[in-house]
């Protein structure tokens, strides 16, 4: 328990240092573009693939469980939209990103620690936390864009599976996704997406930056980072849902 509190304290001290003594903009700018490319653009493929097919599966599962003829078929589209926008795109994709981008962040920073590259930055007088973590936080400001693509593709996957699978007509699906739409749900989804983006940038960085040991420990730190990033995402999801939707 004491160890966990100590780690949480260190995490917040790390955040303070990240925003302290900013690196020169001329140096920071290419770093931000590189992180956007690695973390955001590089993740689009897997996000698109998973979103499309999970959206399709949600639609099929809903259709197969709607056996009562009194329930309108448009509910398939409604259920797909709600589950994709509220939970699947922001939360499930964040867990996937914790594995994909989180492991990349931990292993790249961890390797820099092992090979003394972070010491080299420190010795030169560079604020290594700002240099390494800040560009990742800025890159993850584009994370809602990834999630909006995921939402679109999830619903598109649902439409494709529903219509071409013969479960629902095109008109019923279009009607269903427009049914009882609450704009606040979009705000809720993007609000938590911003928080998840911050967690995805900082928790893996923390585990990479403060790791000790050699190459084997880099692997262990990546696994630990994935676990704790997922835990943080799930906990924040619960808290935000309770505060905003209950």
């Amino acid at each position: 328990m004491i160890k966990a509190l100590n780690q949480i304290g260190r995490y917040f001290l790390m955040l303070k240092e990240v925003f302290n003594k900013p690196t020169k903009w001329v140096v920071m700018k290419p770093l931000i573009f590189k992180e956007v490319d690695d973390l955001i653009v590089g993740s689009m493929g897997i996000v698109a693939f998973i979103s499309f097919f999970i959206g399709g599966v949600v639609a099929i599962q809903t259709a197969l469980n709607l056996t009562n003829p009194l329930i309108p078929k448009s509910l398939i589209a409604f259920a797909t939209r709600q589950s994709v926008i509220l939970e699947f795109a922001p939360t499930f994709i964040s867990i996937i990103m914790a594995g994909r981008a989180g492991s990349y962040i931990t292993s790249s920073i961890g390797t820099m620690r092992v090979t003394e590259q972070i010491d080299a930055l420190e010795v030169m007088g560079v604020n290594s936390l700002n240099y390494l973590v800040f560009p990742k936080i800025i890159a993850f400001l584009l994370y809602p864009f990834v999630i909006s693509i995921s939402m679109f593709l999830g619903i598109l996957g649902g439409w494709f599976a529903g219509v071409y699978g013969g479960f629902i007509s095109n008109d019923e699906f279009i009607g269903g996704i427009q049914r009882e739409f609450i704009p606040f749900h979009i705000f809720y989804a993007f609000f938590k997406t911003f928080l998840f983006g911050f967690i995805l940038a900082t928790v893996p960085s923390f585990h990479g930056f403060y790791m000790k040991g050699g190459a084997l420990e880099v692997g262990k730190a990546s696994t630990t980072a994935f676990v704790w990033t997922s835990v943080a995402v799930i906990l924040v999801n619960y808290i935000i849902t309770t505060l905003l939707l209950s």
Binding site: K24, T111, T115, E116, Q117, D119, A120, E122
Partner: protein, 268 residues
């Protein structure tokens, strides 16, 4: 000049540095030597400010490190060049970008001027046609040269090298040693090298500090080290087979000369 006074450093129960005092003069290659676990890496990291000493002071030309503000410490660090044991080059950058890094970070020089200076120092370390290569595409010796070029590109006052010869063949080691010594003289830098390579000790050791179990056991230069009768130094210097054989042959030669002179005296 770097002055170290009574520095102590512990990690938990283990006391690694036990009140070390010495000075490292500018324009000289100062060596910290000792067996593995003697505390030389901790000593170097303490000098660099990576570890804060538990007691004692370290002053850089009169500026006591522990008394500086964080901004002053950062400013001082821009005057320090460091060559790490594994070179610590940034993997994601080319050789040119690695060397240019301190200039881009701490100066307002134009890209053209940075490029000119980078080529100048790469020439100085005899490294040509490697500008666009990444660290993993060049040899260990070349990586060391790039690390030296990066360390000196911003005209540092202090140069620290952590085992600059580790992992290099003897011939390349000599080249690196000579390069470090030449640069030290040329730019009048205070150079501190952490090593256990006896070739380096004898070749460039203008000031040698020998550590044993966290204590400064001996200090002197590369001529004095061969003459000292300090038991720990003798054991350290002659621990390798090669040096043992050299010593045995020297002793045999000395004894032969002694006997020869003795016989001549008798005849006379």
């Amino acid at each position: 000049m770097i002055e170290v006074k009574d520095i102590e450093k512990s990690f938990g129960e283990s006391k690694v540095l036990k009140g070390i005092s010495t000075t490292f003069e500018s324009g000289k290659t100062n060596l910290i030597i000792g067996r593995s676990g003697s505390g030389k890496t901790v000593m170097l990291k303490t000098l660099l400010g990576i570890h804060a000493p538990d007691a004692g002071t370290i002053s850089f030309d009169g500026r006591i490190y522990g008394e500086l503000t964080p901004d002053e410490k950062r400013a001082l660090r821009t005057e320090i060049g460091m060559v790490f044991q594994g070179s610590a080059l940034f993997d994601s950058m080319t050789v040119e970008q690695n060397v240019a890094f301190p200039l881009r970070m701490f100066t307002n020089k134009k890209t053209k001027d940075i490029s000119t200076r980078v080529n100048e120092v790469l020439d100085r370390v005899n490294l040509k046609d490697a500008n666009r290569k990444f660290p993993n595409e060049i040899s260990g010796g070349m990586q060391k040269r790039v690390a030296i070029a990066r360390a000196i590109v911003n005209n540092p006052k202090y140069l620290f090298c952590d085992e600059p010869n580790s992992g290099l063949d003897p011939e390349t080691s000599i080249v690196i040693d000579e390069l470090v010594q030449e640069i030290t003289k040329e730019y009048n830098i205070t150079t501190v090298i952490n090593t256990h390579d006896m070739n380096s000790v004898l070749q460039i050791g203008e000031k040698i500090v020998f550590l044993k179990n966290g204590i400064k056991e001996w200090e002197g230069n590369n001529e004095e080290i061969l003459e000292t009768r300090n038991k720990s130094i003798v054991e350290f210097v002659y621990s390798s087979d090669l040096f043992k054989k050299v010593r045995e042959s020297l002793l045999a030669e000395e004894e032969e000369n002694h006997n020869h002179n003795h016989n001549n005296d008798k005849k006379a």
